[in-house]
Structure formats: structure tokens, C-alpha cells
Symmetry: C2
Subunit: 419 residues, 2 copies
């Protein structure tokens, strides 16, 4: 017998029929003798509808009222799932964030969970009761509903799993696991059995979109074994209830990964834009002068590359922003030109960042060189490079995106089945 | 300066534009210096949608989960109205039932309010804050959301007004007051300035549909001056903000009604059915034998008429039920024929009950005779009669409904403007 937290996202609970399918997944685990808590999102489309009403009510709105409105979506799903579970003979009850309680900080609209009191739920596990928890919400110190920001139900699930000391947190979603790269681009992409928290964090933040970054961070901190699997498979298909080896990808501590690969996956992010400032005066504080105003305006600066110019008094500064922020960013920089002291600003959209990710990189050399050589052989020009301990990111022209992903996926042997 | 509770129903808050209109009504009262609490229903259609999801989830469902799902509708409206009010510069915040708290009994799905702690709201009145309260909901002793049953927002409003010791509870609805009869049937129907609680209770329970019966009972018990008015008029039209004499109908204690009429209004209820049991054995307990099983099955028996038969050992028993319950009622009676000991059962649908209501009846004689004579003059056959202190109800064939209403409206002089 194990203790499991199952999380189902918006598309998995889009209507009552799908909620019934979710209930079959839950019942399977209950019938296997596990203690089960379920975390649910709003029915797909509902959150957008509620958010649009708030915007229509006023473009600038009190985050506490926004939270009150938007949190209602998860409330509905939790109640409906409890009803369906009961109709299948499963003892279940719904829990709102304020009932558990899931205590958050005061940052309404993007709150952080501070504490979860799991004692009531654990007590009811002993009575065989399933807890159906409204995701995405908690209660702030002002005794008002707080939401965790978009995609927050993943975070709710991981936090609940940590509080309940669950053996595993199963994230049911519309994909059946984490792949070595995007299967729509590279059909040879393989589903990984396991990936480390650190690698998943890079995959998630680089656009793999399976899990919210914050939920992976939280899972890493609390060492919550998190499992990504599909909610759309037949809940009673063979192997679905296999506790040791169900179909999907386990995100876990690297110690749990026996067969470590040097490179685990290839991620990419399209629609990047590059801004270059030529002949910036090379003095202390210049980076702050440039990036401070951008940060204040909420522009998310990603790769930053700085070269020393020939005469040593001027430098070239290149960085990337999401293409959607390009106009805003260039306007801010033009307006602050006198502070920033550069000669020319150049910018270009339509770029892609491809990233090679692998925890094994830390102990292997030549990983970057292999990437550069493989891209060069295909005639793909590299515009910028940044690296971390477990990741190499390369900025290229958008038209080469798919070719670059396939090339890198192949050169590190990810096409081949693991031994 | 007065303390007001304003209540807006589903059609008044059907979308964000209408909510904006509601906010203008609220702002008008705030600008006039009043302390204001607002009680809101779900956006029209939302409650039905939520209820249908519950039914789809399972025809028989846990009332606590039903409450969790259905109460979300009012939560959304309360948050949205608070946002709109703030955008108009009105200090406002939303309150859920559990936040105030509005304590109910344990009868989830049709709970009764047991206590409202108005202290927080009153404290914030002093800071100029408007309370926007989700109607229809409270918190049960199990710390779970409880709803008051359909139309419960009227009851919420009156209960809040009693708890806050409000000077008046304004029920904004899609009609502009209480009329002497249905204006769709009798164009000469006039809006009453005032009606007593007792009369309104008869009007409401007889199908006038302006206010929920329970809310009127509650208003009567707590002597909450309740005012019915239209939410669809221009909030800033002349007279709308007149505290002493706004457009609408005041439901109040009879002491407040100076010019008492003998008859105040004519109500009607269509789609009634009549069941007659012929030659019922006239013995003690026979009424219980007949009506017990019907009550157990939830059939709402209304008018009951019993005549002694010629030989004194048998009696004829006639009663009415809603036409929609007729088949159920006759089946129950047929099945229990051995207990009930009657000869023949006769039934007929398509009937109408018209009622003459007036507190002045208590001190005037001949009111009933006037009705019978007027109907006879029009050739309308009377099938059954029941009377109370302030009401005469007459069962007639449905085809005469409109004629009977107009005849009675005229014979008591209700067509004419009051002096």
C-alpha cells in the first residue's frame, strides 16, 4: 500500500464524461489499496472565461477579487469529481484551499504556498476516504482566497504530496510522458523512463511545457517523486495500475537514475528575438543600467553575451527576449540611450534557442564541441551561446529550428533505444 | 444616513454590462451617504448549468458536494461586482458565506440560516466600505459550504438586513414592484405602494413570483422593511435615489399602511389538478390515511374540501395538487385503496386557483359573497372554495382563468387609482 497524489489538468476534466474517466483512474488506485488524494484544475476554458470577465469588469482589478472569481473553477471540478467517485462507490469528499487549509502568502494572484495542514486528510485516509482537492488555490493571511498563478495546480499537487509525505505525485496530462525532444519535430523521439529534477527543470523552462517550472522546483526541494503520465489512456488497460512501473516518466532525484546518459534531451524555444547594442561604453554598472529598466518593465531577458571590443574601452552587448517583448524592449532602450551610452542598437526577431540538456555533461567533456560541429556540418549559423553545468543553449535562425533539433537529437544518440 | 441592503437577482447580473448597471445603483446609494451591503445571485443561467452538471455526474448526489459546486455561481458574481465598484471609485469587497460567516443548519441543499455575524461588515461600514455578499450560501456546522435552496438569495438578503439591523432591504428584480394582479392578464393592474407582510406571503405563495415565500416569512418575523423595485431602470433617473419614496413596492408591517383596502390583490395559480374520492368511509384517521402517503411522496396537497354524504357514514373528499404531480398522486392512492376505503377516484387537470387577498377582510363581511356573485354572473363554475382570515381561494376551470382574474380585479375596485 502506498500514498499517492494524482493531479488532473483542465483538458482531463473538460466535461462530466472526462471527469468520469478521471474517476476510473482514481478508483483503480483506490481498489489497489492505495491512499489517494486527487488535485484538480478547472474544466478547460473555464479559467479563461473567468479571467476575461475580470478583465471586462476592469482592466486593473483587485487581485483578491480576481482570486475569488477565478478560484471558483477548481471548486466546481472538485465537487463534480467527488460526486462521480461516490456514484462509483468510492468514499470521497472535496476540499477547498480554505478548508484544508492550504496557507499562502499575501501575493494574491500569484501566491506561494507557505504551509499545508494535511492532518484532516490523513485522518480520513484511515477511514478509506479519498480527498478531492481544488488545485490552484489557498487561503491568504487575510482569510481570503488566494490563487497560485496560471498552471498552479501542478504546484498544488506537488505541495500536497510533500505535506502528505506521499510516495509519488502522478501528474496526469494530455501527453504520456517526457520525451527526449518534441515528437512533432522528431518522430524518433523516445519517452524517457526517468529524468532528474535538474534536467526536467531545464526542459520545462525551455518550453517542454509538460510541467510548470515552479512545480518542478518544489518537487526538487522536497524530493517529491513526480510522475508524468496520460489521462487519456484507458484507465483499466494492462499495466496502468502497475505501481512499480506504470507507463510514463518519473521525475526523481538523480541518485535514482542508474543508467545516466551524457545528454538526456533536446529542448527548444521558438519566437526569440535578439538585441545587440554596439560599442557600449565599458564601465562598471553598465549592465545594471541596461537590464534594470527592462526588468522593471517585466521584460524577460534570457541569454546575455558580452564581448570586449578591440580598443578595450567599448564593448558589444547581445541578449535575447521573447519576440513578443521586442518592441517594448527596444523602446525602453532607445528612451534610456543617454544612460546606456551605446552607438547603435540592432535587433532581430524570428530566432530559436535550441538546448542540449544532460546531467552527465558535468563529468563529460566535448559535449558542446560535438553540438557546434554537428550544426556547422548542416550549415546552421550560431548567433549566440550560453552554457550552464547541465545545459548548452544555442541561438539560431528560426528557419533552422527543426533541422537543428533533429541534428542534435541524432548526434547524441537519443534516437536509439536505451540499452 | 441610512443602512441599506440591496439584492440583485440573476437577470440583473447576467453579464458584466449588467453588473456595471448594478454597480451604478449601488454607487447612487453610497454617494447619498448610506451604508450599503449588496447581496448577489449567480449570473442567470449559471446555476442551472452547475445543477445540470451535478445531475450528469450522478442523479443522486451528495448534497454537500452539490452545494460546493452550485455556490460557485454567487462567488463569481460577488467578485466581479466588487471589481466593477472599485473601478468606479467605490470602496468594496466581496464576502463568501464562510467568510462572514453566515452559519446555517446541516440541511445541505436547502439549509436554513441560523446566525449571521455582521460585526466585521458593520466595522467596515465605518471605513466607508461596501460589502458585496454572495447570496444563497452559508457555512454549515461541518465547515462546508451550504446552499439555501433555489431562490435563496432573497432569503440571504433579508437575513443579512436583519443581522445588520438595516433600515430597508431593497430587492432589485425584473419587475418594478408588486401589482394588484398580473399585468399581463389585466392591463389595469396597478403597482401597490405598500403591502403588508401577511398579504405578500399569500401573494408569493400563490404564484406572484416576485419574492421567495421564505424570504417574506423571514422579513415578517424580523420586521425587515423589504422593498421590491426594478434593476432595469436607469440608476440615475429622477427619484431613483429618493430615500423616502423611491419607485416600487414596500412590504412592511400593517401598522405602516395607513389607507387599508379591504382587498389588496388578486393572485392565481394555473396548472392545478383536482382529485376527488367518492364515498370514503367516514371514520377517525381517514384523512391521515389519505394524506400521509402523499406527503411521504413529496406531493404538495393544497386545497382540501370534505363534504358529509347523505347517509352520514360515507364522505366525499376533494383536494388539489399541482398538475405535474397528478399521475404520481393517483397512483399512490390507487395502490393504497384498501387502507383508504373509498368507492371511486375521480381526477381532473387543467384547473386554476384564483385568490382574493386582503388584510381588510378580517374586519369586513361580504367579501366572499361578492366574489361568488361576480363569478356566477360571468358563468364561471366554482369547483371548490377554501378561505383563511385574509384570503379566499376559488378553484375554477382553467379556460376561465383570465376572465376570473379580471372580473375579481374589477369587482373590488382595484382598477381604480387609490384616493
Amino acid at each position: 500500500m502506498a500514498r499517492l497524489v494524482l493531479k488532473f489538468g483542465g483538458t482531463s476534466v473538460a466535461d462530466v464524461d472526462r471527469i468520469r474517466n478521471v474517476a476510473r483512474h482514481v478508483k483503480r488506485e483506490v481498489d489497489a489499496g492505495h491512499e489517494v488524494a486527487v488535485v484538480v484544475s478547472a474544466m478547460s476554458g473555464k479559467t479563461n472565461e473567468l479571467v476575461s470577465w475580470c478583465r471586462e469588469a476592469s482592466p486593473i482589478h483587485d487581485a483578491r477579487e480576481y482570486d475569488t472569481v477565478v478560484a471558483s473553477g477548481e471548486q466546481v471540478t472538485a465537487g463534480l469529481l467527488a460526486i462521480v467517485l461516490q456514484s462509483m462507490g468510492v468514499n470521497a469528499r472535496s476540499w477547498m484551499g480554505w478548508q484544508i487549509p492550504i496557507a499562502t502568502d499575501t501575493a494574491h494572484g500569484a501566491a506561494r504556498i507557505e504551509d499545508i495542514d494535511g492532518s484532516d486528510i490523513i485522518r480520513r485516509f484511515a477511514e478509506g476516504q479519498v480527498a478531492v482537492i481544488a488545485g490552484f488555490q489557498g487561503i491568504a493571511p487575510d482569510r481570503r482566497i488566494a490563487t497560485l498563478g496560471r498552471g498552479g495546480s501542478d504546484t498544488s499537487a506537488v505541495a500536497v504530496a510533500a505535506a502528505l509525505k506521499a510516495d509519488r505525485c502522478d501528474i496526469y496530462t494530455d501527453v504520456d510522458g517526457v520525451y527526449t525532444t518534441d515528437p512533432r519535430i522528431e518522430p524518433k523521439a523516445r519517452r524517457m523512463d526517468r529524468i532528474s529534477f535538474e534536467e526536467m527543470l531545464e526542459m520545462a523552462s525551455l518550453g517542454a511545457k509538460v510541467l510548470q517550472v515552479r512545480s518542478v522546483e518544489l518537487a526538487m526541494v522536497h524530493k517529491v517523486r513526480t510522475f508524468v503520465r496520460s489521462s487519456f489512456e484507458d484507465p483499466d488497460a494492462p499495466g496502468m495500475g502497475d505501481f512499480e512501473n506504470p507507463p510514463g516518466t518519473l521525475i526523481c532525484d538523480e541518485d535514482e537514475i542508474v543508467e545516466q546518459q551524457v545528454v538526456t534531451g533536446i529542448a527548444y524555444a521558438k519566437d526569440e528575438a535578439q538585441i545587440s547594442l554596439r560599442r557600449v561604453e565599458d564601465r562598471p554598472g553598465i549592465a545594471a543600467a541596461i537590464f534594470g529598466p527592462l526588468a522593471d518593465a517585466g521584460v524577460n531577458v534570457d541569454m546575455i553575451v558580452q564581448n570586449i571590443s578591440e580598443d578595450g574601452t567599448r564593448t558589444d552587448m547581445t541578449f535575447t527576449v521573447p519576440a513578443s517583448d521586442l518592441d517594448k524592449a527596444t523602446t525602453i532602450i532607445e528612451n534610456a540611450k543617454s544612460d546606456m551610452r551605446f552607438d547603435v542598437i540592432q535587433s532581430e526577431g524570428g530566432l530559436t534557442k535550441v538546448s542540449v540538456i544532460g546531467i552527465g555533461m558535468r563529468s563529460h567533456t566535448g559535449v558542446a564541441a560535438t553540438a557546434f560541429k554537428a550544426l556547422a556540418n548542416r550549415g546552421i549559423n550560431i548567433r549566440a551561446i550560453t552554457t550552464s553545468e547541465i545545459k548548452i543553449s544555442i541561438l539560431i535562425d528560426g528557419e533552422f529550428s527543426e533541422l537543428a533539433v533533429r541534428t542534435l537529437h541524432s548526434v547524441y544518440g537519443l534516437d536509439k533505444a536505451r540499452p
